[in-house]
């Protein structure tokens, strides 16, 4: 029996709604973060509209604010977003027959962690109309959250803005901690990354290294070491 294909635009919109709500809040925090670094509202919105990646954007803003080099920018985005390559490879197996060659260029633009997760969780293959629905709602949420966050960052009193500065890190903690509970190896990899990060921030000579490279070196090294020490069982992972 040939696998069924999801073709409903409405179904895509519906499946994208929870992602949209989640993105709105992350993007709101990003908006505040970005104007806090001296970018204006339009610039902040343009970043979200063109990049569509939370971690990547959060790393990009300090590089822009500090006047970092383009090499630093490119290298940072490459390593932080490298995981999307894997997701795109995986998603390419999941796309149904209705997805045309040109559609792939559009879908790729909003292939985020969550969109990928929802698309992969479907039993059926995903068609073009379904995928367009699935990426539309999160994209709108991402843009709207950014815009409101950036405006709020310009209007709210200083004490509230500085307190909200922790929001995006709170979200990161909420992503990382549950995963470290599931896997000891991830816990140790994260711990090593944190130790390296502190070394690179507080040791005098190393702290001169631009922030983007610090992220690459610390996260890259910790992930590399644990990829060889504790390679994950890919079969087991696929069954989950």
């Amino acid at each position: 029996m040939p696998p069924k294909e999801l073709t409903s635009f409405k179904q895509g919109i519906k499946d994208g709604l929870p992602i949209c709500v989640g993105y709105f809040s992350v993007a709101f925090a990003f908006g505040i973060f970005s104007v806090g670094h001296g970018l204006d509202v339009v610039q902040t919105l343009v970043i979200s509209l063109t990049n569509v990646t939370s971690a990547g954007q959060l790393a990009a803003v300090p590089i822009m604010a500090a006047g970092g080099t383009l090499v630093e920018m490119a290298a940072t985005q490459f390593i932080i977003n490298l995981r999307y390559a894997l997701m795109s490879v995986s998603l390419s197996q999941k796309l149904g027959k209705s997805v045309r060659f040109v559609d792939r260029f559009i879908i790729a633009f909003v292939n985020t962690d969550e969109v990928f997760a929802v698309a992969s969780s479907k039993k059926e293959t995903v068609g073009r109309r379904y995928m367009f629905g699935l990426i539309l709602t999160p994209y709108v949420g991402w843009a709207a959250g950014t815009l409101l966050g950036a405006c709020a960052g310009n209007m709210l009193p200083e004490i509230i803005i500085s307190s909200l500065g922790i929001a995006i890190y709170g979200m990161f903690i909420a992503i990382v901690v549950p995963e470290t509970k599931k896997s000891k190896a991830t816990l140790f990899a994260v711990a090593l990354a944190i130790v390296l990060s502190c070394i690179f921030n507080f040791v005098p000579v190393l702290s001169k290294i631009p922030s983007g490279f610090t992220v690459i070196i610390c996260a890259g090294l910790a992930s590399l070491i644990f990829a060889f020490l504790c390679p994950i069982d890919t079969k087991k992972e696929a069954e989950q």
């Binding site: 795109s88 922790i166 992503i175 992220v215």
Partner: protein, 109 residues
Amino acid sequence: MNYTKFFIYIAVSAGVTYLIRMLPLVLIRKEIKNKYILSFLHYIPYTVLAVMTVPAIFSSTGNLASAVVGCVVALILALFNKGLMTVACCSSVAAFAVNLIIELIAKNS
């Protein structure tokens, strides 16, 4: 920041990000099987987020004390698997409370 420089930064960051997502989706049809590459890509999101959070979180609220309190609140809630929004809001409110107390003390002294 002037707009010319800004758009060059945007072109680089958005360009690299898009190419990473687009090229595999358009070109590669075979699945990656190498377990070391898969493992590396599995760890990357978590180590990246960890590096970006520590130590930056401790200077995110304008005050070390409020940042530490906000961080502890976030850790505890995350350990209980609370959602992103809950963790972020509670952590901000905790930091705000400490910032408010500090401001009141500063005014009265």
